[in-house]
């Protein structure tokens, strides 16, 4: 909190002392005024972005978990899918976003797919690594008990891999808002990314900063949710 207040104070000091024009760098007070004056507009666009983010993240998490489980359960799937995953991850989403928009249009589906693409890989990768790293003692337990691969995965590997899933989620909630911006910058008529582009084009820099602050707040909210989940799972697993 002290750091935040200090940063705002330095920001104001820089604006005041340098005399930089408000369309280049508005002061914190101006941004606060833009936040208050455009509350309804910001709220509307934030809801749209948050909705995209929630759906895209959910899809990314679902597909990431499914992929990690499939790779764990099937040697053939590992052989087939792992190289494809690495190659797919090597293509930057920024390059794919225009193609996705071209195929799926300017609406919600293209944003959801972009976000899911960005968040899917860290979840699948972190979870799979942990699923495959069962401690030797538990491997022996599965062997001695006569467990099949499915029961071993469900009862031993999956609970053991929960910290891996949390690591993947931490990365996903950092990349998710970035993917929202990418999707909305490439082509959208709503959302915080769109609002930032519009504000920038009209020289409304304070509004642009206000949209940025709302997006940052959304990211922090997601981060806090994952941290709460991490604390709960640390007690449970």
């Amino acid at each position: 909190m002290v750091c935040f207040a200090l940063a705002v104070a330095i920001w104001q000091l820089v604006v005041t002392l340098s005399g930089v024009p408000r369309f280049i760098l508005p002061g914190p007070w101006l941004v606060l005024q833009a936040l208050g004056g455009n509350a309804a507009l910001l709220w509307q666009n934030a809801l749209w972005s948050a909705g995209n983010l929630a759906l895209g993240l959910s899809l990314g998490i679902f597909l990431g978990i499914e992929t990690a489980l499939l790779l764990t359960l099937s040697r053939r799937a590992r052989w087939l899918l792992r190289p494809m995953l690495v190659v797919a991850q090597a293509v930057p989403v920024f390059a794919l976003a225009p193609v996705i928009t071209l195929w799926l249009g300017y609406g919600m589906p293209s944003k959801i797919v972009t976000i899911a693409l960005v968040t899917y890989f860290p979840i699948a990768s972190a979870l799979f690594d942990r699923l495959m790293a069962l401690p030797p003692g538990l491997r022996d337990l599965a062997h001695l008990s006569g467990a099949n691969r499915w029961h071993e995965t469900l009862l031993l590997r999956l609970p053991h891999a929960v910290p891996g899933l949390i690591s993947g989620l931490r990365l996903a909630v950092v990349y998710g808002p970035l993917a929202v911006l990418i999707g909305e910058w490439v082509g959208s008529s709503r959302g915080l990314g769109h609002l930032m582009l519009m504000a920038n084009g009209r020289g409304q820099t304070a509004l642009m900063f206000a949209a940025l602050i709302v997006l940052a707040a959304l990211s922090l909210l997601l981060w806090s949710a994952v941290e709460a989940l991490a604390r709960w799972t640390a007690r449970r697993f």
Binding site: G137, L138, L141, L144, G146
Partner: protein, 245 residues
Amino acid sequence: MTAPTVHLSGALHGAAGLLIDHFDLILKAGQWNVLLGPSGVGKTSLLRLLAGLPTVARLEGRIATDDDRPLAPRVAMMAQDDQLLPWANAVENVTIPARLRGERADPARAAALLAEVGLRAELRRKPAQLSAGQRQRVTLARTLYEDRPVVLLDEPFSALDVVTRLKMQDLAARLLCGRTVVLITHDPAEALRLADHAWIVSRHGAAPCPLPKTPPPRRIDALETLAAQADLLRRMGLASPAQIA
């Protein structure tokens, strides 16, 4: 449940060459058979071979039972690392082997076994909330829940303090009575307390150890136990069967 006698013979090879030269062990049915030897000699590899667990070691020889039935499905194992699930409570940890086989768990029986090993008040506690000795009691309850005629013990008490170790030895001797037990240890005192039959394992093979005539579990402070321990320590310093003979 009929406990078999197990005949283990041959030579054991590791990744870097010969570990144990020709040995011939008759692990007697319903008794405590102890393999004593320094760390790294290959005792754990022998136990893993008996359990049918993967190991880099290779046995040039045979594992046979007196009833000619396969051994691995009749084996339960307790190791030094307690193999407990950190996220599961004591009852769930006891019933996990059954659930891993897709069988219905019997929590009442698990609770009764936990009470028998002295954990009546700790049924819902997770491993992190238990002491090292209590965790080994949970593992012992799991071994009893499996109800297998052959029990392999891989230095299960070595991480415990002296008093807890003695208590656990007494408990295990009482509860595993009637099963074919194979205990590996590097502690001569533990071997002398628990063994019906004991061998010193070294690179040169497995040499039988003389034991006091009293039945196990033996008193640690009995004169004949102390004398046997001194003798055993001397033999472990000269562990080659040729030298011992």
